[in-house]
């Protein structure tokens, strides 16, 4: 059993690429997304914040799949935070991710109606198997807030499924 665990750990270590490769591969697309969402002036700060959040969570990733969707999700949330800081809060709930939505794949349609934070938490938790610690790092919030967002999101999905 212990050998199996060690082997799994080793396989994971192999499949998560060195951050340098991940960064080289996705930085142009991330910057493009942030420029589109925030404009050229604010995109640079958001770019740095996106990759710092990604790097903070990177060591604790369970596997190296869906990294593109993962980093674009982080970028969307960084953009959302930046927009939130510059807009009255009443508009926020409707600030969806309607344009340039990243590839959420299986959970995409299902979570389409959720508010952005809940949607990100649900997708990262159930789509990518991230822990609440990792989700908190990715979203720039706390594990409790991430857990709360995911569970509120799931409840909301259940309600809409049963109605």
């Amino acid at each position: 059993m212990r050998a199996a665990v060690r082997w799994m750990t080793m396989m994971h270590a192999v499949t998560i690429p060195p951050f340098e490769h991940f960064y080289e591969q996705h930085r142009i697309e991330v910057h493009r997304l942030l420029r589109r969402r925030l404009g050229t002036d604010r995109a640079d700060d958001a770019f740095q914040e996106t990759f710092l959040r990604a790097l903070r969570a990177y060591r604790r990733l369970e596997h190296g799949e869906h990294l593109r969707a993962w980093v674009l999700t982080i970028a969307q949330n960084v953009a959302l935070d930046a927009l939130r800081r510059s807009r009255p809060s009443a508009e926020l709930v409707e600030t969806g991710i309607e344009d340039s939505r990243p590839a959420y794949e299986d959970l995409a349609d299902l979570t389409d109606g959720l508010p952005p934070k809940e949607r990100a938490a649900v997708v990262l938790r159930y789509g990518y198997d991230l822990s609440y610690d990792q989700i908190a790092s990715a979203l720039g919030s706390t594990p409790d807030a991430a857990r709360q967002a995911a569970s509120t999101g799931i409840r909301r999905l259940r309600r809409s499924a049963s109605s």
């Binding site: 270590a13 998560i16 340098e20 910057h31 770019f47 740095q48 710092l52």
Partner: protein
């Protein structure tokens, strides 16, 4: 449109400043050509004569974790000491080393190797004897061959008992160059 080099540099500096990098690396210019140099917060972890990073990063990630990032700042101390060494102004390296994930025998041999003085040579057999394994000269040769931190851990100072140079990861010419630089030949 690409990411500006200024933005790129700022991200890399912030990542190191926030202590988020398991292993930083850069390519360092020296009189013997470009070297790939990598260091963690524990110390210098790798020097390679093959300067192209692409072939090295997976190996570093297995040692230190996946947060491997090009960051000139991480290797500043090593760069400075290598500069001084090649300029003839440094005879002893004063760098912490990251020898993680190496077997105990290898670590013992490398510690003995580190004590071979600038400008002198020793033999595989003498190193083997120094770690209490006098018959392990061949195993010492393997440790030299796989030395992750050449130059700083001076495997170029180790030669055959007959005085032949035997081998070197960077090529025998380079071994001769380093020994000449130290006045050992």
């Amino acid at each position: 449109m690409t990411v500006s080099s200024d933005l790129d540099r700022r991200f890399r500096e912030a990542a190191v400043a926030l202590d988020l990098v398991d292993m930083g690396f850069d390519v360092v210019d020296t009189p013997i050509g470009q070297l790939f140099v990598a260091a963690s917060t524990r110390g210098l972890a790798a020097i390679s004569f093959e300067a192209d990073p692409d072939n090295q990063l997976e190996r570093l990630a297995r040692i230190a974790g996946p947060a491997v990032l090009r960051s000139p700042k991480s290797v500043d101390a090593a760069r400075r000491e290598l500069d001084e060494y090649f300029a003839g102004r440094r005879r002893v390296f004063d760098l912490a080393l990251d020898l993680r994930a190496l077997p105990q025998f290898t670590v013992s041999v490398l510690h003995e190797l580190a004590r071979v003085p600038f400008g002198e040579t020793t033999t595989y057999g003498a190193l083997a004897a120094a770690v209490g394994r006098p018959r392990a000269a061949r195993a010492v040769g393997t440790v030299m061959n796989r030395n992750r931190i050449p130059i700083v851990l001076p495997c170029h100072r180790v030669i055959g008992s007959g005085g032949d140079l035997v081998g070197y990861a960077g090529g025998l010419d380079l071994k001769i160059t380093l020994l000449e630089l130290e006045g050992a030949r």
